[in-house]
Amino acid sequence: MLAVWALASLVFLLSRWGPPSDESLGLSNAADLNVGTPAAPSARRQMRREALLRQGLAAPLFYFSRVADGSGARPVRWHWNGRRNQYHRWLGAVLRGNLGTSFRNGRPVAGRLGAALACTVPLTGAAAALALAIALALAAGLARRPWWRRPALALLAALQALPLFVLATGLLLLLANPDALNWFPTYDQADAGNGPAPLGFYLALPLLCLVLSALPELTLQLEAALAHELRAGYAVTARAKGLSIKQLIRSHALRNALLPVLPLIADLLPALVAGAVVVEVVFSLPGMGRLLAEAAAARDYPVLVGGVLLVGAARLLALLLADAGARWLDPRVL
């Protein structure tokens, strides 16, 4: 709880450090030749002041500020601003459950995040579950040292070496291209009114992409842990007692091998909420990653801070779950 608060406060303060640009205040660019009569420089300064005032950005940022004094022995001094500051107002609003409204369109942040989550969570959730299942199966298979182990490991490393956007664009150009294989539709074809089932179909390609990107690290780490376990004393004993390697993996080794991989699995949860910018941009999905990236680019701080709060909370939850999972897998862990 404390960590989430510290995190959100930090992002809030960091993101509002500099003066806001004209674009983030919804003002036109002064350095373009606009149609209409150009505003005089004094009018533009006035305009900026009014926009700041209307959006509540004219107040000081925090309870105290550091003022460069210039003269005297002390180069800086601290100025107490009282409770009329942006941070106090923001914190009060957040405690009342109000994340504020977006700078760009005045919509409540909570609604904006909710809409984006509705698109992101089915996709990332399915991807996480699928990646985990495939990784478990694949690692168990690899641990038996079949002939295809080496090529499979090389392939996984290659997948890891490929940047996500290359993978995504490659899949798009290969599998949803009228000039190549036009097997999958993309989300721009999705029209509202379709049920969830067709929607799932539109998400097939992004899903594949996310699974492929999450797979290498999970599988390789799990495989390494399994190999480590199979060399342990108890495994050798069990094998000597005539347990087949399949049984050994399934009933003993896998449980122990999961333990060091738990942080990786737990990391899937915050990723679930944070979305995947690259995949969402390439496949034009209106998801969380894109929302946050565009908010950061446009300096839309309320949306950004709301998103960070959400992701931070998910990450802490994931950490707690990982610890609980570790205790469940190995009761000796305190």
Partner: protein, 584 residues
């Protein structure tokens, strides 16, 4: 084994779905790279929001894309302009008698009055509009005609005729049903200081308008334009439906600006270029405006795409410009600036970054504007030898004989000046990066150290405003209507739009004269003089005008592609007859 079968079945199903025949009433689907975010007619934060509002609302005057000029839209003719004394302009409009709001009430002068006051009222997101239209001081209704009115404008400028009609007229009944704003004088609102005590009437109007939330629910302040917003899925799709009975349908002959052909206009948001091109090829999108040149050329090269798509290019009004920070002592003299401008290989850069489209220029006037373009000036040519000679004339000398030796000259004090440049451009802009790399390589040949500093979008403008650069590379957006360079080159605009910090008494006088020139002949003469002066002073190096590329389905006609944004006339587009379109 079952999965591939399933996939191929679904693919076959999908393929059969996409080959439906075209009807003239079929929606026209246009591609956007970004969601418009906010459709409030007072805010208009981005070009997409402006284009969307053009479908929902009407202004007195609107751009006619067939002639690229302003034409009367809600006004029944171009306004009558009279000068009064030497500081006022009186502009008289008359609204079209046929114009009505959706509920059948006529559009009257008092709606214009209320809109103007809304644009100046406190507590509303209207800062931009406020600054832009503060030259309109007074609204004078005509006592004999409820549709005729006169706008009294402060100052005298030729652009007032167009600028005074370039805002969306909103229905008074939707935000001020009691007509409470009529009691206020426009000038009083324009001059109202931000610190004035709150006024309950104005606050009530602002509250009513803000509660309607027109940024997200444009239908609540419904305009007299031809379309309504039927659906808006954020970051995905906007759907505009043609009003079945629109007042302008009865006008004969129908003016171009009041043409609204498609029954439905869909805007599909696709941020990724590769996916956008695929959507066009797949036929899920019909119009792709402002196509990146690379994608344009790639599509043009494909035979299958050529069968399906039509390609249009025109010259835009956006000029890629490098600008010097003339406040820096090393760049304060024009000879140094002239020397450095010779290090840009504009010819090769145009060919490389715009794939041969676009056009080089000598100044900020478009080369196709035969009347105003200074065709007597030669284009700048890349010449490192001449650049070095110019630098020597400017008092610089090499600090050694080795190729990396820099340049210096005695400064006004005891400290010598060194020639080293910090180049800023927006991060992620490939074309600008190529320009920067070329400039850097050319400068390195002379031993001038150049540091490239791509700057993230949000910090770019503040950095330029703060003067934290030696040279910038950016896109200067222009338009065909107004030649007023005061916001970017007048010494009064230093610290605001004049990023170079340039300004001499002579240039200020000339810029003012260009803006005030009433007759086209005088304007052309002054503009040519201005271009010659800018070439001489060289605060900016205009490299080339960018092309505006448009790709659309072959079966669409009446797109009116042009250099003016958005580069097509959405409401005029029609499908060609099904008989022709039936051919595969």
């Amino acid at each position: 084994m079952r999965t591939p079968l399933l996939i191929s079945l679904l693919a076959a199903l999908l393929a059969s779905c996409s080959e439906h025949s075209v009807a003239p009433n079929q929606p026209v689907r246009i591609l956007w790279a970004h969601d418009p975010e906010n459709l409030d007619p007072l805010v208009l934060p981005n070009p997409n929001a402006s284009d969307a509002n053009n479908l929902l609302h009407l202004s007195l005057l609107q751009v006619d894309y067939s002639t690229q000029r302003h034409a009367p839209a809600l006004a029944d003719s171009l306004p009558r302009v009279r000068l009064s004394g030497d500081s006022l302009t009186l502009i008289t409009y008359r609204l079209r008698p046929a114009a009505t709001w959706d509920d059948g009430r006529p559009v009257l002068a008092r709606d214009v009055d209320a809109t103007l006051k809304l644009m100046q009222g406190p507590g509303l997101p209207n800062e931009d509009a406020r600054a832009q239209f503060s030259f309109i001081r007074e609204f004078r209704p005509d006592p004999t005609d409820p549709r005729r009115f006169t706008l009294v404008c402060q100052g005298q400028a030729p652009e007032f005729a167009q600028a005074s009609g370039d805002f969306f007229i909103l229905p008074e009944a939707s935000f001020d049903p009691q007509g409470s704003l009529r009691a206020y004088r426009l000038a009083a609102l324009v001059d109202r200081p931000a610190t004035a005590p709150p006024d309950s009437v104005l606050a009530a109007v602002a509250r009513r308008y803000n509660q309607a939330d027109p940024g997200q629910h444009p239908e609540r302040i419904s305009g007299c334009g031809p379309y309504t917003l039927a659906r808006w899925e954020k970051d995905h799709r906007l759907q505009f439906r043609r009003k079945p009975h629109w007042w302008a349908d009865a006008l004969r002959p129908a003016p171009f600006v009041l043409r609204a052909q498609p029954r439905q206009l869909d805007f599909v948001v696709i941020p990724n270029e590769a996916n956008a091109t695929l959507a066009l090829r797949r036929g899920t999108v019909d119009v792709y405006p402002q196509v990146p040149v690379r994608e344009f050329r790639r599509l043009q090269a494909s035979a299958a795409a050529r069968q399906q798509l039509a390609f249009y290019t025109s010259l835009s009004y956006d000029v890629v410009t490098a600008g010097f920070n003339t406040r820096r002592p090393a760049l304060a003299d024009r000879l140094t600036r002239q020397a450095l401008s010779l290090l840009f290989d504009a010819h090769a850069l145009l060919r490389a970054t715009q794939q041969g489209m676009g056009q080089r220029t000598v100044g900020l006037v478009r080369p196709t504007d035969a009347r105003n373009y200074a065709d007597s000036l030669p284009l700048l040519s890349y010449n490192t030898g001449r650049a070095a000679a110019l630098l020597r004339r400017a008092g610089w000398h090499r600090l050694g004989t080795e190729p990396t030796a820099g340049w210096a000259r005695p400064g006004p004090g005891s400290a010598p000046q060194r020639l080293a440049l910090l180049v800023r451009y927006r991060a992620g802009e490939t074309a600008f990066e190529t320009i920067g790399l070329q400039f850097r390589a050319a400068a390195a040949r002379l031993g001038i150290a150049v540091e490239l500093r791509p700057t993230e979008t949000g910090s770019f403008t503040p950095a330029l405003h703060a003067g934290d650069f030696d040279l910038y590379i950016r896109l200067l957006k222009g338009n065909p209507f107004i030649f007023n360079f005061a916001p970017i080159l007048h010494s009064r605009a230093v610290g605001e739009g004049n990023l170079t910090g340039f300004g001499t008494p002579a240039s200020d006088r000339l810029i003012e004269a260009v803006a005030a020139a009433a007759s086209p002949v005088l304007k052309a003469r002054l503009l040519r003089k201005f271009q010659v002066m800018m070439r001489e002073e060289m605060p900016l190096v205009p490299l080339f005008f960018r092309p505006n590329c448009l790709v659309a389905n072959r079966r669409l006609s009446h797109l009116y592609p042009g250099g003016l944004k958005p580069g097509y006339a959405a409401a005029a587009i029609t499908w060609v007859t099904p008989a022709v379109a039936a051919a595969p």
